[in-house]
Amino acid sequence: MFALRRTKRGVLASATLAVSALALSAIPAQAFSVHAETGVTATQIKLGITIPLTGSAAPGYSKIPSAMQAYFNYVNDNGGVYGRKISLVVKDDAYLPTLAVAKTNELILKDKVFAVVGALGTANNKAVAKSVNLGRRGIPDLFLNTGYSGFADAKKYPTTFSLFPSYIMEAKIMGQYIKENFAGKKLGLIYQDDDFGTDALVGFKQAGVKFDVSVPYASGSQSAQSAQGWIGKLKAAGAEVVVMFGVTTASGAALATAAAMAYKAQWILGSVGGDATTLKAVGVPAYVLTGAMGASFLPAPTDTTDEYVKFFQGINTKYNGDAVFDNNVLVAMNTAMMTVQALRAGGKNLTHASVMSALENSGSSFASASLSPINYASGVHVGYSGYWFGTYNSAGELKPNGGAYSVYTTDSGAGAIVKSTFKRPALPANGLPTN
């Protein structure tokens, strides 16, 4: 009965170890303070983000956290938000929902952040909403890096505030553009086979666009090899205009493979997968991108005549190690500026509730680089609603079609698509919000 004796002593040792480990860990529980909101002290506001820094979707998006922190550092150097300095805890989720859940748990339970800002990915955010359930915990989930229309449901996601126009809006506006400019052409579509892509299908249907060939791809499966399959199908169907509704690495694989297979089409890139510098970095030759079309709600990152772009480029040089200034950096700094205004609007006595009610009440008047209006209101948690179209020139710059930005707005339902008359608020003095 050697196993018996062995087992008994092992049992005791293991049990003692497990119980004492649990007991020891009880100490930090008393560190809970009843006075201030979690993540806020007299000198600091702690925010968190989950984003792919590694893995198949990382190129491009991995630049977002440092660019956000760069703007926060600029604000911190100029007095912070009511004397509190903003810090951003960054977690790599490799674009995997499982990791996003685990890392958000860490942000909430271990790092004890005040709010999550800019978490990226439709599937990831959905998994987090279900499992970590920021809504039930009352923790603000601000300015997600996704346009999934489902997050507009303020009852289901009470603490979630989207910033981007929904993918349905994007597809609707894109659909109208296609109908007006490419009538009678054979149409092709590549889309990510999850809620991100499903949104696009809904939008195109709303706009009355029918594709002659649709190629879904599984998230994470994008590669030069799988892209050969996509292009093969498009080529066989003779598609003349191809819409690419996927992440940047997927657009990159599609464009590079199309060039290699000598397949010529008019490409239209969705806003998610249309960042020129990332596309170049993943191996798309400049000549392939030239003439492709793209959609955006922000000004082009190369447009130095835009006061916001110019200002953010300055911050990028001084605070972000002069990284290549692309759409990712612009999106990140714009999100950071929105965040600072939300925190300011939350008041000196900053709480979860105060930030969220401030966003509902005054969020629509915040200064932002976007050419689309901001629509926050009571129960309305989706920010932007509009897009403009442009064409990439040989330098990879997205130039607005017709020479000037003409923004069209719509909703995620059956609403009409209208030309926007929105006039953007001027950049606050020195780029420091005073709201």
Partner: protein
């Protein structure tokens, strides 16, 4: 000359031994259950959540200990069996609306069934060939989910065990609920394995592990015995998979990477692969490693990229060191040293 006891007396002594062992075991499990219950009310939410993860790993590591430590078969594919359990549970929940305890039973049955089939193949293989076959399973199987719409692709399926019952109070968090379910399952399954290992099957497996030929001569049906071990181990792995998915409310291929299969084998080796109770130590180590490496990376000023890769490095190092210096696990080694 030694005086031999009559056979009947030996039988009585053995029965007494077994009875005493069962009482000690039952008392211990009750004590542990109460201790865990108290602990879950004292510690903060992070520790409760980690406790739930520890409980899941305890179940997973136990399945390896039963298989490798007792029946002498190796599997690098238990992550895939966990995936089967998890998908079976979530499908039975989402399509037939099974109550939660029943979904766990479905997980066990589905994984056991698959394990039985695998075990039949495994019966013909041993050592590196068996390791290779199961490894292929771990690599290939979870990504199959991307091929079938019903399995939800990379985005996965939501596995919702629901909020804790209101009768437990307003402050009863979701994670505490997960912990209770996982800890209860871990205690129950450990108790079951404890008893199986003490039964004639356990003794057969040990004989098999030490010397299959001798075991066969003694009348042990080698192939059947091996398949049985594989089946039970797979069922337990299936339960671990369902429990793990519960803690993240999600079943997705990315929850079952190759590294998961390696992690639970590492946990079993660190625990001492022949010690069932070592599963707790192994599980605590597996949960502690990312914590330690994160602290280390912060201390050294490393980036998040470093932090996310360090645990793998540390786990591999521990595995190599453990095999080099304590091939039977640290606990067993210490005991042997003391005896000699």
């Amino acid at each position: 000359m030694l005086k031999r006891k009559p056979a009947a007396q030996v039988q009585i002594d053995m029965d007494k031994n077994i009875a005493r062992r069962k009482i000690v075991g039952a008392t211990f499990f009750m004590f542990l259950g109460i201790a865990l219950f108290i602990a879950s009310n004292i510690v903060d939410e992070l520790r409760v959540y980690q406790g739930a993860t520890v409980a899941v790993y305890v179940v997973a590591i136990s399945s390896i200990i039963l298989l490798t430590g007792y029946s002498g078969q190796i599997s690098l594919g238990h992550g895939a069996l966990m995936a089967i359990g998890a998908y079976a549970a979530v499908l039975s929940r989402n399509y037939w609306n099974f109550p939660i305890p029943l979904t766990f039973a479905v997980a066990v049955l589905a994984a056991a069934l698959f394990g039985a089939l695998l075990g039949m193949a495994a019966g013909r293989l041993s050592g590196p060939y068996l390791a290779g076959t199961t490894l292929a399973l771990a690599v290939g199987l979870p990504s199959l989910a991307n091929q079938f719409k019903i399995l939800g692709g990379e985005e996965g399926l939501t596995y919702d065990v629901g909020f804790p019952p209101l009768s437990l109070g307003q402050d009863f968090t979701q994670y505490k609920w997960f912990f209770w379910i996982a800890a209860l399952a871990a205690l129950a399954i450990t108790w079951v394995i404890f008893n199986i290992l003490g039964s004639r099957y356990g003794r057969q497996w040990r004989a098999l592990r030490s010397n299959p030929t001798a075991a066969a001569l003694l009348g042990v049906h080698v192939a059947r015995s091996k398949v049985l071990a594989f089946t039970i181990s797979s069922g337990i792995a299936g339960l671990a998979g369902a429990l793990m998915s519960m803690t993240i409310s999600l079943v997705t291929p990315s929850a079952f990477p190759l590294s998961l299969s390696f992690a639970i084998v590492t946990g079993a080796v660190l625990a001492g692969v022949t010690l069932l109770t070592g599963s707790i130590v192994g599980a605590v180590v597996l949960v502690a490693i990312p914590e330690v490496t994160a602290a280390l990376a912060t201390h050294l000023g490393g980036s998040e990229k470093v932090t996310s890769n360090l645990p793998g490095l540390m786990m591999s190092t521990l595995l190599i060191l453990s095999v080099l210096f304590f091939p039977n696990g640290p606990q067993l080694h210490r005991r042997k040293t003391r005896k000699s």
